[in-house]
Amino acid sequence: MTDQRFRNAAGGRIDRSRPLTFQFNGRRYDGFGGDTLASALLANGVRLVGRSFKYHRPRGIVAAGSEESNALVQLGTGARTEPNVRATQAEMHDELSAASVNCWPSVEVDVGAINSALAAFLPAGFYYKTFMWPPRAWRFYEWFIRRAAGLGRAPTEPDPDRYEKTYAHCDVAVVGAGPAGLAAALAAGRVGARVILADESSEFGGSLLGEAATIAAAPALDWVAGAMAELAALPEVRLLPRTTVFGYYDHNHLGLIERVTDHLGPRTDTTLPRQRLWKVLARQVVLATGAIERPLVFDDNDRPGVMLASAARTYANRWAVRAGDRAIVVTNNDSAYPAALDLSEAGVNVQAVIDARETPPDAWREPLRVRGIDLAAGRTVAAALGRKRVEGAEVYELAADGSRLIGAARCYDCDLIAVSGGWSPTLHLFSQSGGRPRFDAGIAAFVPGESRQAERSVGAARGTFSLAGCLAEGFAGGAAAALACGFGDGVAPPVPATGDTPAGPLRPLWRVPTAGHGGKAFVDAQNDVTADDVELAAREGYRSVEHLKRYTTTGMGTDQGKTSNVNALAILADLTNATIAEVGTTTFRPPYTPVTYGALAGRSVGDRFDPVRMTGLHQWHEAAGALFEDVGQWKRPWYYPRRGETLHQAVARECGAVRASLGIVDASTLGKIDIQGPDALKLLNLVYTNAWDNLEVGRCRYGLMLKEDGMVFDDGVTARLGPNHYHMTTTTGGAARVMGWLEEWVQCEWLDMRVHFTSTTTHWTVVAIAGPNARRLLAELCPDIDLESAAFPFMAWRDGTVAGIPARVFRVSFSGEQSYEINVPSSCGVALWQVLMTAGAKYDITPYGTETMHVLRAEKGFVIVGQETDGTTTPQDLGMDWIVSKKKTDFIGKRGLTRADCGRADRKQLVGLLPENSKDTLQEGAQIVAEIRPKPPMPMEGHVTSSYWSAALGRPFALALLMGGRARHGQTVAVSSYGTTSWAKVVPPIFWDKEGERLRG
């Protein structure tokens, strides 16, 4: 326990009635509700909070908001641990636990700090220069580099929290709830526009939370409270605190991440999600994102205790925390003066304001004098003293052109150096929206240029830093945005009086001349990029800001260079004798601050990642002990092992049963499309390669569909139900694709074709019975269909009843055996299946799965689209020239087949393979090679597409695509797979019942 000795006894916006304890690096500390981890650490005098990325230098807290570059912590433990959290944004809750990153074994004693001594050998582009040779060694180097980098640890356990996604539309989205954002929301909300106001902080008010400002002669926070109450009462206004707008996309689409319960700590009650991802489509966007203060670039400016002046001021005002005992305030502009006064008011011994300007505005002299604060003009800090914390500062007189220091140093004894190098409007979202920033020399900062989308920037985000200006622009921007959506008259509400002191011009100061005793001047503290690195890059010719960024990695950390970008490119401009406007900025990309993957995934994890489709018979299959195979989204029975059976044994048994007596398979997943209309026949003739004119009602036919390039696309059996009515079947995986294909042709190409499609896949349960006893079983259960082959031949269908259920029976066969596919309404599927199982017991009826189905069809040489074909396979390649009509003038793919390439004799053609070793089942996907070499590459001639053990043949067999294969029957080929070679004889791709007597019998 510690005493929070840097916490003032009164003041601040913390909840002193809610004391909390937390742990940092294993030590316990006290804090209050309303603290952040950063404010609580500072209250307890903890200054060293982490080590830097490359040199492992000691680092402290620099900022008070999302721009923090140094104070990254590993938050939480176990499954809930989160890396790279900015301590300035981690809201305090009881029992919060956090640890430093980038250090081992501890933040105080860090082995990696040796890199600091080696710094001379670790310049910009070090990795590019050093680890390029030998090329293979990169993997070895990378392993060490990644470990040494240590950017926190991702949790290894599943995420226990719940995340939600939500979608919203609004008229005016206002980003940022500082004075300008609140004013904009008020102006738009009062006239009835639907407004969403989001702010990343736990409280609305923005910069006003950290300043002692006045509005309408009262504390500014009274005005904030009034605005909040008014907004909360407006029914069309939605207020989203703790919500970061992290992305601005096309069509005014914003990505928001709302931290719903993070501030409550780990909870067992998961009624509310941890975070909520909002996707908002706004008709108008008002960017009131504020501005970020720039640090100064001087020697050892990264020592713990060097802090942005606005941050030190915010800690004092919002959290009643003194960021140090003895301070100097160093600036080049007016904004640090009220900061110095507020620090002094909070009890910090502010020794001096060091202003780089020769003649600071007179308005500040008297307030400083009253507080006993010296004013040193034309001077700046050139070096921080101390190592793990600031112990002093060297201040010099600055030459008029800023190029050198003059005279001797004056040393201040201080533990806080509050710096202000001017302000940069927060342009991230503006830039993401497609807008190009423009350099404004008056404030030495980039400001928004022309809008590319329906957005406008107001207040500090636009470079207007006075409170009066922020309020005026907010009101005007909100009113204008509302008017653009048809609300109000566009007239801005009157602006209340503010207690602003007008600000004078700043003196640009990008790189303080070095004090000359070997310190490092950091530009990007998070990525350890120094001013010297920028100089080296410029010397080596990296003159484009985009190249500078990639070479030095400046601005590429998790903070995206919020505090560093402008300093880096200003130094580059100076070195290359270009203007800052000419150098320009790099592109800002989402997210503004890191977003956890869990929020992006939302509920689409685990079982909810992808829909699972099950047939009506699924529970029966499960009860029968089936193992399942994924076919598209469907779960299909793979095989039904009996006690102790392997896959091989079960499949051999199932295959044997079908060939010898009777098998039964659930074929419900087969794609089914009902086609009706006077032009149905015309359509079939265009989408299938064969002719359909002579197909009579009551008959069905196998068809092959091609793409326009002539390559096989899908196959299936289609039955003629009536003169203008067909029932098409497709492959299981191709059902949606074929449906879409037919619709696209009819809607986009053949607009006058009168034909309609209805997907009926799930209307029917399809049960196929196959085997020599199939007809005998069906005859028992089906009194109203004449099953004799003469009356009900192969490739016909009949309506009737099976087991008392209305059924449509197709006499088709994918197994090569006598087979009937019985279609009944889905709701009757289980009843049908059970009757068939009971009645079929005398034939030892055997349920079989997809594996047996595949073996049986392969023995017959029936192809599976997607297994024997791969998008480069023609019907001729499959030996199916017989199905390609020579008489039809046109069908999809006909012209494609006439390309010379399709007639090449050495195309890969479907063949059968019989391995020479009868115990040797070939690997599917194995390559057929022309020549065996000790190791790849070997000249490839084809590959194995299907390979099984055949119980019927008593040996393994395979189907393959082989160059010029049809002319090579009888040859022996080498099949190579993972270093082993098998030899196989090329045979015609049919192994069972070549005459087809069994399936017709």
Partner: protein
């Protein structure tokens, strides 16, 4: 979550739609009369303009109707939506 205005259903979320590539690609009346080069142009060659692009979309998770869209490939703004078979309108502002 761009809004696309289906000609039949009105403005709906982009996720309900599927993209179908460049629009106004007419299937040749007599494919067999085309040279390999001309047929390859029909099959494979597509425009990739910076600016206004005519393309077709389908309201796949809605009414399942195909329609035409004029879209600016730079701003992704949708400039016009029109039914299949209708002529390409002038690009809007």
């Amino acid at each position: 979550m761009h809004l696309i205005a289906c000609p039949w259903c009105g403005p709906r979320d982009e996720v309900e739609y599927a993209y179908g590539g460049e629009g106004h690609i007419a299937r040749p009346a007599r494919p067999e009369a085309l040279s390999d080069g001309a047929y390859a142009d029909y099959l494979f060659m597509r425009r990739n303009p910076k600016g206004v692009h005519a393309e077709r979309w389908v309201h796949a998770a809605g009414c399942r109707r195909w329609f035409n869209v004029l879209r600016d490939t730079v701003s992704h703004r949708i400039l016009a939506v029109y039914k299949m078979g209708e002529p390409r309108p002038e690009a809007g502002p």
